[in-house]
């Protein structure tokens, strides 16, 4: 079965071609079902390969299937080859699994949208690119997928292109990602320059001979991290992700929560053998992850758009993953990628279900009391909220705790930032939950009787994801809590393909008490939200009523404004200079000037063309005579 790995990427590609070419002809239902089936088929193939790999012993779990040569330049040889190993398989399973659920969900969500064949085609193209990113056995193929998902992200953010917001958000995502991709490319160039290969396995061998802390490895990893920060929305490149919510909600769930944004972390884990040789960069990653987790969480507390809250929560959770990776716990980061994919996709799809029911209302101040109207959505959303808040036994608890524990061992101050963020996380998620589903109904009265639960095609994925969000954590039981003696399955599964480097300075007792601390933090966040938004039925204030620190946070620390003045304006002005001076004045001046000179010469000469035969003949005779005279003078 493993030799059929190419099916995993080719199936979504086929789906893209079919829905792209025939979608408009056969309509929305055809495209939705086709796209979903191709995506599901890719999942089935992945699952079968996963089963086969599980049957092998640990040493032979890494298999590379080469399809054909792609770029051969000197000693650099980038083939289209897929690398099957535990790491890529875990990601591929998440991508195809969650991806397929979201495809099916989209059939219901996009119902009645005239552009949905295009939507499904893009979605399948995204799957193709993402799986190339994940399965590629060299950096260039990964980069191809990397750019492909960026393109699909841009296309799908701008799906509602009639609105300016969506178009602007798409452009913003694309341009900010371009900054990161620039770093990624420089990193790849430096790798080719230093090691002469882009293949992961060869690279690992080449890196083995280098000592930790070498300058060139510092720069390589730093530039690659810039790429990862762009894609995974870390400070300072996170600004595109909240705006990306302008796309359809399932897209936010699939691309901007579960899969694409985690590819930065996947790249770190894939190149973990390189990163462990750059402890300084690891520290930078850890700090940036912690700061991202904290600041995004604080912004999330004052957002009133249901999707914006989830978007900042995604940025914050991505910060956790990077914090873990920075502390050397790559597999804990990947574990959090997996659980986060479950509960965040669930939360986004739940939000999509709410938005769908309320006819595209996203402001939580205009919701309220929805738990009776949308029972399934409410219940699954609650599970997602509990999971992300870190309630014991829910998936988010295990993965987040694993990260916090590893970070605690790495640096206790960074752990402090992460722990505070955990309170805030619980607070803003329960704030969202209570304001949306409890209290009085605040939407317009005429819409009230129209509100009904979403169809089964949408609620079934919610239920499946809720089950995964509930039990997904058991994949990575910490050994201190291992009642079933199943072990930390995901870490053990991954440890051959990820160079975990986490130190453990403290014993099991500390780990257990730290878990207690985490639970208390989550409960603290919950209690604050409970008192403010359930007991007192508080609803968030109107936009302009914040003062002081709240105003700063409500305006997202004015980061967008700062970027606007610092970068956008200056680039804009620079472009203006290029336009006015270089383009209009110099280039156009030269071109138009040449034309004008020639035109003026012609204007002068045209008067010699009288149309009178005699004049021509006189010219001719004069010419002959002067020529003859000339010859005479020269040769006689």
């Amino acid at each position: 079965m493993i030799e059929y790995v190419w099916l995993i990427t080719v199936l979504p590609l086929a789906g893209f071609i079919i829905t792209g070419l025939l979608g408009n002809k056969f309509g929305e239902k055809f495209s939705g079902i086709m796209a979903s089936l191709f995506s599901a088929a890719a999942f089935v193939v992945t699952a079968m390969i996963f089963r086969e790999i599980l049957g092998k012993d640990e040493e032979s779990r890494k298999i590379i299937i080469k399809l054909f040569d792609w770029i051969v330049a000197g000693k650099v040889n980038a083939a289209v080859a897929y690398q099957i190993d535990p790491l890529s398989l875990v990601m591929a399973l998440v991508v195809t699994g969650v991806g397929s659920l979201i495809h099916f969900y989209s059939i219901g969500y996009m119902h009645g949208d005239s552009g949905s064949p295009k939507y499904f085609a893009y979605l399948n193209l995204f799957m193709f690119s993402m799986l190339n990113l994940v399965l590629g056995s060299n950096l260039l193929l990964m980069f191809l997928g990397w750019e492909g998902v960026g393109l699909c992200s841009y296309l799908l953010i701008g799906y509602y292109y009639e609105t300016k917001v969506a178009g602007d958000a798409g452009k913003k995502a694309f341009i900010v990602n371009r900054v990161g991709d620039f770093g990624f490319l420089i990193g790849i160039f430096l790798i080719i320059f230093t090691f002469g290969t882009v293949d992961f396995s060869e690279l690992e061998k080449a890196v083995a001979g280098h000592v930790s802390g070498e300058v060139i490895i510092f720069w390589i990893t730093l530039f690659l991290f810039i790429g990862a920060a762009g894609k995974s929305a870390q400070i300072p490149l996170y600004v595109w992700l909240p705006d990306a919510m302008a796309g359809p909600t399932p897209v936010s769930a699939l691309i901007h929560a579960a899969t694409m944004v985690t590819s930065g972390l996947y790249m770190l884990a894939r190149l973990s053998f390189l990163y462990v040789k750059a402890p300084d960069v690891m520290f930078i990653i850890c700090v940036i992850g912690a700061l991202t987790a904290f600041f995004a969480a604080t912004i999330g507390t004052l957002q009133n758009d249901i999707k914006k809250v989830l978007a900042y929560s995604t940025v914050s959770q991505l910060g956790y993953m990077f914090m873990g990776a920075g502390a050397g716990a790559f597999s804990a980061g990947i574990f959090h990628v997996v659980t986060h994919a479950f509960f965040k996709a669930l939360l986004f799809l739940g939000a999509g279900s709410v938005i769908h029911a309320l006819h595209h209302e996203q402001d939580i101040r205009k919701m309220g009391g929805l738990r009776k109207k949308l029972p399934v959505t409410h219940f699954t959303f609650l599970i997602g909220t509990l999971a992300i808040a870190g309630t014991p036994l829910f998936s988010g608890f295990f993965s987040k705790d694993e990260i916090l524990w590893k970070v605690f061992n790495y640096n206790i101050f960074i752990w402090g930032i992460g722990a505070v963020s955990a309170i805030i996380t619980a607070y803003y998620m329960f704030r969202l939950y209570f304001v949306t589903f409890f209290g009085e109904t605040r939407f317009k009265e005429d819409t009230e009787h129209k509100i009904h639960e979403s169809p089964a095609i949408m609620t079934l994925p919610l239920i499946i994801l809720a089950v995964l969000a509930l039990f997904g954590g058991f994949l990575g039981m910490p050994h201190t809590l291992d009642f079933f003696h199943s072990g930390n399955m995901i870490e053990e599964f991954l440890h051959k393909s990820v160079a975990d480097h986490a130190v453990s300075r403290y014993g099991e007792g500390v780990e257990v008490s730290l878990m207690g601390v985490s639970v208390m933090l989550a409960v603290a966040g919950f209690i604050i939200a409970f008192i403010v938004f359930y007991k007192n039925n508080g609803i968030p204030e109107k936009d302009n009523q914040y003062v002081g620190a709240q105003k700063v946070i409500f305006n997202k620390y004015y980061i967008d404004e700062i970027y606007e003045t610092a970068f956008v304006k200056s680039i804009y002005n620079f472009a203006k200079v290029l336009w006015r001076l270089i383009d209009v004045f110099i280039i156009d001046g030269v071109i138009n000037g040449t034309a004008r000179i020639l035109r003026d010469i012609g204007e002068g000469l045209r008067y010699s063309e009288t149309g009178v035969v005699h004049d021509y003949m006189i010219f001719m005779a004069g010419g002959i005579v002067s020529f003859a005279v000339l010859l005479f003078l020269l040769f006689l």
């Binding site: 000469l605 045209r606 008067y607 010699s608 063309e609 009288t610 149309g611 009178v612 035969v613 005699h614 003949m617 006189i618 005779a621």
Partner: protein, 108 residues
């Protein structure tokens, strides 16, 4: 060539001078006259002036290449006058005039 007894002998120089005079008359006619038909006639005069010069030089060189060339010129001139005259007729039908100064549609 035998010694001549005539006082006023017509030498090759005379022929060449005549040819030059004819050519100048033709050229002047072409440049000055406005009637297309006359211009045409003048061109014929120029051609014949050249013919005369060719024959003269041929005799001077004591060979007959020039005479042969003249036949060609005559044949071409005949063809040219046939085409030229028919063009003139068509021109006259179109413009109701053969005054070349009035035919200046190519004026820039």
């Amino acid at each position: 060539m035998p010694e001549s007894l005539h006082i006023f002998q017509i030498t090759e120089t005379h022929y060449i001078v005549l040819s030059v005079i004819l050519f100048c008359i033709g050229t002047a006619g072409v440049l000055i006259r406005r009637n297309a038909l006359v211009i045409f006639l003048c061109i014929e005069i120029m051609l014949n002036a050249v013919n005369l010069a060719l024959v003269t030089f041929s005799r001077h060189m004591d060979q007959n290449r020039g005479e042969v060339f003249v036949f060609f010129v005559m044949a071409v001139a005949a063809a040219e006058s046939a085409i030229g005259l028919s063009l003139l007729i068509v021109l006259h039908r179109q413009k109701k005039t053969v005054d070349v100064d009035e035919i200046n549609t190519l004026k820039g």
